[in-house]
C-alpha cells in the first residue's frame, strides 16, 4: 500500500516537475475548468478527479503537520490549482522555501527516487 503510493508519488514528482505552471480548477459540477482543459490539450496532465481530491487532503495534512494554522489551511489550498497541489503533495518537504533559512535537501534521497523510478534500481520492491 505504502510502496504503491510511494511509487505513484515518484511518478507524480517527476512528471510534474516538468510542468511549471498551475493547471486545473475545481469548477461547478459538469464544468471543466480552463486550466484542466489546457492541461488535457497539452497532454501534461493525466490525473483524474479522484487523485486531485486525494492530493488536496494530503497537502492539507502535511501543512498542518508543518505547523500551519488549521484555520488557514483551507483558504491557502483553495487558492492553488490542482496541479500546484499535486506538486506540493510530493514536494512540500523539498521544494524551495524562501526565508533565509538553512534548508537541506535530501539529495541522496531524491537521486534514489529517480533511480528507482527509472528502473535502474529496485530497492522499494513490494513484499
Amino acid at each position: 500500500m505504502h510502496v504503491e503510493r510511494f511509487r505513484r508519488s515518484c511518478v507524480a514528482l517527476i512528471s510534474l516537475s516538468l510542468v511549471s505552471l498551475g493547471l486545473q480548477a475545481p469548477a461547478a459540477a459538469g464544468i471543466v475548468g480552463t486550466a484542466d482543459a489546457v492541461a488535457a490539450v497539452q497532454q501534461q496532465d493525466h490525473r483524474g478527479a479522484v487523485q486531485d481530491v486525494l492530493a488536496r487532503a494530503d497537502v492539507r495534512e502535511q501543512m498542518v503537520g508543518l505547523g500551519v494554522d488549521p484555520a488557514e489551511v483551507e483558504a491557502r489550498i483553495a487558492a492553488l490549482t490542482d496541479a500546484e497541489v499535486a506538486t506540493l503533495a510530493t514536494r512540500i518537504e523539498g521544494a524551495p522555501a524562501g526565508g533565509d533559512a538553512l534548508v537541506v535537501i535530501g539529495i541522496v534521497f531524491v537521486v534514489l527516487m529517480i533511480l528507482e523510478f527509472t528502473g535502474v534500481i529496485d530497492i522499494f520492491k513490494k513484499a
Binding site: 486545473q24 464544468i31 480552463t34 489546457v38 488535457a40 491557502r76 512540500i92 524562501g98 526565508g99
Partner: protein, 325 residues
C-alpha cells in the same frame, strides 16, 4: 531577429555561470534603457524567515493592494519549513485579486517588466546548488553603466548587487520570477498562452470578477485564443449567465472544434438552459473527443447526468443559435 537573439544569448551565457560571465551592458537589448530604478516601490524590512511575505507585500502594494507583510504571513509562511513556497506566493497573489504572471527564464523578460514599471519578485539561491539558501527578493531596477542589479532584499531597502552575482543566484534559484498584474493589464511582450493560463489560475481560485476582466482583456488582444473564450464562458457560467457562457463556448469551438472540455461545458450550459436534445448531442460529441485523455472521466460523468435528466417542461432558452456539429 538576430540582433535581438544575440544579446539574449549573451545574457544566458552569463546566467549559466560561465567563467566569462558578461556584464549587464553586454547582454542588454539595444532598445532597453541603460538604467532603471523603480524608486517608488515600497519597502518592508523582513523579519526573521519572512522574506516571502515581505517581498510579496512589496509587489502587491506596488500594484495597488493595501497590505502589510504581517497580514500575508498566515497566508504563505510554513513554520516547519521556516519559509514560504513559490506556489503559495502565487496562490496568495490570487487571493488579493492580482494576476501572478510567471516570467520566462531569460533576463530579457525581467528587464521588459521593469521597463513597464513593474517590480519583479525573484527566487534566489544565495549559496551553492547543493547547499541552498533560498531567498525571495524584489528586483526594482538595474544600472548597466555600473553593472549592478537593484533590489529590495531582506532588511536592505536598496541593495546593489553586481549583475553577474545576481544572475548567478537567480539561475541557481531556477530562474523563477513573477510580477503581479492588475486585472485587465497585459504586459507588452506577454505570451498569450502563458497569460491565459495565469488567468485560469484566478478562475480556479474562485476570483471570478478578476478572471472575467482578465479574460476580456485577453480576448481583446488575442481574439484567436480559444482558451480565453473557454475561460470567459466558464466565468459567465459560474456567475449564472448561461447565454453569455454558451456564446463564449461557441466562439471557442469555432476556433477549435475538437476541444472536449469546451463541448462538455457547452453541453452542461445547454442542459441548464432546458435545451436537452442539443445538450445530449454535444455531450456525446464531448465523450468521443475526450477518449483517452485526462478528461475522459469527467466528461463521461457529465454525459451520465445529462442523460438522466427528465425532459423539461420549459422551452430552450438558447434559441436562435447555430450549434456546431
Amino acid at each position: 531577429m538576430i540582433r535581438r537573439a544575440l544579446p539574449a544569448a549573451a545574457l544566458l551565457a552569463g546566467l549559466a555561470g560561465c567563467a566569462a560571465s558578461p556584464p549587464l551592458a553586454d547582454g542588454l537589448a539595444p532598445q532597453a534603457p541603460r538604467s532603471i530604478e523603480l524608486s517608488a516601490t515600497p519597502f518592508f524590512p523582513q523579519e526573521e524567515y519572512q522574506c516571502g511575505p515581505a517581498a510579496l507585500a512589496t509587489l502587491l502594494r506596488a500594484s495597488g493592494v493595501e497590505i502589510e507583510p504581517q497580514a500575508l504571513t498566515p497566508q504563505v509562511f510554513i513554520p516547519g519549513r521556516l519559509g514560504s513556497l513559490q506556489a503559495e506566493l502565487i496562490g496568495a497573489t490570487r487571493r488579493h485579486e492580482r494576476l501572478p504572471y510567471l516570467l520566462a527564464t531569460t533576463a530579457d523578460e525581467l528587464i521588459e517588466e521593469l521597463a513597464e514599471g513593474r517590480p519583479v519578485l525573484v527566487l534566489q539561491n544565495l549559496r551553492a546548488s547543493r547547499w541552498p539558501k533560498w531567498h525571495y527578493a524584489v528586483l526594482i531596477g538595474y544600472d548597466a553603466t555600473r553593472n549592478v542589479a537593484l533590489l529590495r532584499s531582506g532588511t536592505e531597502e536598496r541593495l546593489e548587487m553586481r549583475w553577474q552575482r545576481f544572475a548567478g543566484t537567480w539561475h541557481r534559484g531556477g530562474r523563477w520570477a513573477f510580477t503581479t498584474l492588475e486585472p485587465g493589464v497585459i504586459p507588452l511582450h506577454a505570451d498569450a498562452s502563458r497569460y491565459v493560463l495565469a488567468v485560469a489560475g484566478l478562475e480556479a481560485a474562485g476570483k471570478l470578477r478578476a478572471a472575467a476582466i482578465s479574460y476580456d482583456a485577453a480576448i481583446a488582444r488575442w481574439p484567436e485564443q480559444q482558451h480565453a473564450w473557454l475561460g470567459r464562458g466558464n466565468v459567465a457560467y459560474a456567475e449564472g449567465d448561461l447565454p453569455a457562457a454558451a456564446d463564449a463556448y461557441l466562439r471557442a469551438i469555432l476556433l477549435e472544434p475538437k476541444d472536449a472540455a469546451t463541448r462538455n461545458n457547452l453541453a452542461q450550459a445547454l442542459a441548464d438552459s432546458h435545451c436537452l436534445a442539443e445538450s445530449r448531442r454535444q455531450a456525446e460529441r464531448a465523450v468521443a473527443l475526450a477518449e483517452g485523455t485526462a478528461l475522459a472521466g469527467a466528461v463521461a460523468e457529465t454525459q451520465v447526468k445529462i442523460l438522466a435528466m427528465p425532459p423539461s417542461a420549459e422551452a430552450c432558452q438558447l434559441e436562435g443559435r447555430i450549434w456546431p456539429d
